[in-house]
Amino acid sequence: MNVIKGFATTFKHLLEEPVTIQYPEQVQKFNERYKGRHHLRRYENGLEKCIGCSLCAAACPADAIWVEAAENTDEERYSPGERYAKTYEINMLRCIFCGYCEDACPTQAIQLGHEHQLSFTDRRDSIYTKDMLIDPPAEGKAGTPRQVEPGVYTRSIPQMEDPS
């Protein structure tokens, strides 16, 4: 009878290993495109990719990003081009992790990584500032701000090759 089959099914579950993942000892594997915490990326030479254009703030549906731009000089250069983001803040309570900022960015500066353990105990701690979001410079390379040769880093948006 079907009832007996039902009992056999649940009994089989008793003998199999449970599917539960024991967090936090075991963490589930994420796909490559998982949208976690934001990162502000750098170029390989150490300059920041973010040019402070605030297209990400414009694209954000939850109004979570605040960008203040300031002017780059060759003595104190943060990013190639004229502008850099002096203030860059994301309110993690407003952010819905949709990835529109990543899509809108012209220099591929802001990208969503895999960090997901983002808890805090005070609402004020939910504002992630630029120093919490910026990638550290690569090993051995200089960070920003730094002094560069004048006239080299004049293009804010890099020369992109045609992928086709």
Binding site: M1, V3, G6, F7, T10, F11, H13, L14, P18, T20
Partner: protein, 522 residues
């Protein structure tokens, strides 16, 4: 834990172990005598602790029956009741844990395993949470009934356990000032009443009051509906419970649980083998009695939020949950005592201390069975639940009573071996009929035989069929006295109005004048 704390605990444990070892080694001979080794080194056991485990009442000199002694018969029930209540309440707490863990494993997941090793302290955490929860009362609730209702539900289910013995009489040592060292033979039950089965059926009915009062006093129409449903369900399954509990009474000849358990000393004596239908029906009826899946529609979250418990929070809610789980435990105890051998697995008269352990093991098995049923079967819809209770369970329980009755009568008439043979014959017949009926139900012909609504006599009002005739016959019989009374009253009225004029008749009917004796008609 900090490193210093670990070091401290380690040192403490080592100290305790060392002291114990020293004490044991220096007193080895005394310990050996206590266990039961005699001077030659043989485990003689007659006066040792091991000996006391086996047939203790035959080995002691001053044995006093507890019921004969004034002090013991007053104190022992209190001690036993306090200890038993404590054990049951702890058992309730760990039944919740068992349920959550086992249900989870049956559903291919893990239950609570964070609070304490393996979730061992989860019930404590739940208890603390419920104690600290805000104790709400709806504004329009009937205050005292609202407070009393959980108690009225919990107390009867605890009381049911009073008549079920946990084991044969224990022998306990005591020092009585006037008598010196004496041994009391105490029962392992509160009261082995000689109407134990009746007690069970009666007291479980009182729990229904708690349910209805809870729903009524909540000032919530959905809670009230849930309460009415729950109480109707409990009442309708009590009939099958009562009938199937009559089967052990018939076989054993006594309503006392102690006698029923003692009649099932060996596994082959268990009453379940003599009437499995009654055992099965009893287990189903008891499941419905405690509103346990698959009969738990009245507390299903999807249907009625929590049914009659909706407006309760905090400790009062905990009391309702307590009533449900303790009901599960106690009801398993009743079923085991009635059909599954009680505390006997092999005859445990010689080792009374083992009986509660065996009983506990069986209760845990039954609880696991209940949880397995909950994990497997979907909830039964309420109208089907009521139909099942009245149209299937009661006829089947009548059938099981008839089975046992016929077997006993024929067995008594024909002597020795006839009882098992007749019982077996009826068993085969019931199995065959059941298999055929279930096959027909499961096949597709059955669904085509249902009458479409246009032809249903309830709808068309046509007057034919056996049912209609029966109803009218019964109605006629019931109507006879009513018709006679009516006829008599009308006849007397007619006689009274014999001498009155039509005007006086009309005046009487309109009520303007009181009845006066007529002076007319001279």
């Amino acid at each position: 834990m900090s490193r210093n704390l670990k070091i401290g605990i380690g040192v403490g444990v080592l100290a305790v172990v060392a002291i114990t070892l020293v004490l044991v080694i220096t007193n080895l001979s005394a310990i050996a005598t206590w266990i039961g080794f005699d001077s030659a080194g043989n485990l003689n056991g007659r006066e040792g602790a091991i000996g006391m485990l086996l047939s203790p009442e035959s080995r002691v000199q001053n044995l006093i029956q507890c019921e004969d002694d004034a002090g013991c018969s007053a104190i022992w029930p209190i001690i036993f009741a306090a200890g038993f209540a404590l054990v049951i309440v702890t058992g309730f707490a760990y039944t919740t844990l068992l349920e959550r863990r086992l249900l989870a494993f049956l559903q291919h997941r893990v239950g609570p395993n964070r609070v304490g090793p393996g979730g061992f302290l989860q019930p404590a955490a739940d208890g603390v949470k419920l104690v600290f929860k805000e104790d709400l009362m709806p504004a329009g609730a009937d205050k005292w009934v609202y407070r009393l209702a959980p108690m009225i539900k919990v107390i009867p289910v605890l009381l049911v356990a009073a008549v079920i013995p946990m084991g044969p009489d224990l022998v306990l040592p005591w020092f009585a000032p006037s008598l010196g060292d004496v041994w009391y033979q105490v029962p392992q039950g509160l009261v082995d009443s000689n109407v134990g089965i009746l007690w069970v059926i009666a007291i479980t009915s009182i729990a229904t009051y708690g349910v209805v009062l809870a729903g009524w006093s909540s000032d919530n129409k959905y809670a009230m509906l849930g309460a009415l449903r729950a109480s109707a369900q409990m009442i309708s399954y009590e009939l099958s419970m009562g009938l199937t509990l009559a089967v052990p009474v018939m076989i054993v000849g006594s309503m006392a649980f102690g006698d029923i358990i003692d009649a099932q000393r060996n596994i082959w004596d268990w009453l379940v083998f003599q009437n499995p239908l009654a055992a099965a029906i009893l287990m189903l009826a008891l499941l419905a009695e405690v509103s346990r899946a698959p009969f738990d529609l009245t507390e299903a979250e999807q249907e009625l939020t929590q049914g009659y418990m909706t407006e309760y929070s905090g400790m009062k809610f905990a009391l309702f949950m307590m009533a449900e789980y303790i009901g599960m435990i106690v009801v398993s105890m009743v079923a085991i005592a009635a059909f599954f051998g009680g505390y006997h697995l092999f005859p445990v008269d010689g080792m009374p201390i083992l009986a509660p352990v065996i009983f506990l093991g069986k209760v845990i098995l039954f609880l696991c069975g209940m949880i397995w049923v909950r994990a497997t079967l979907p909830r039964i819809r309420y109208d089907r639940l009521m139909q099942f209770g009245w149209k299937v369970m009661i006829p089947l329980s009548l059938l099981s009573v008839a089975w046992t009755a016929i077997s006993i009568v024929v067995g008594d008439a024909l002597g020795g071996g006839a009882y098992p043979i007749i019982s077996g014959v009826v068993f085969v017949v019931v199995l065959a009929v059941g298999a055929i009926a279930l096959n027909r139900l499961g096949s597709e012909d059955a669904s085509e035989e249902s009458i479409p609504m246009e032809d249903d006599p309830m709808y068309t009002g046509e007057r034919r069929g056996v049912g209609w005739a029966l109803v009218h016959l019964v109605g006629m019989i019931v109507a006879i006295p009513i018709a006679l009374i009516n006829f008599n009253v009308k006849a007397l009225d007619g006689l009274a109005s014999f001498g009155r004029t039509p005007e006086e008749d009309r005046a009487l009917e309109s009520g303007e004048t009181a009845i006066t004796t007529t002076t007319g008609g001279d």
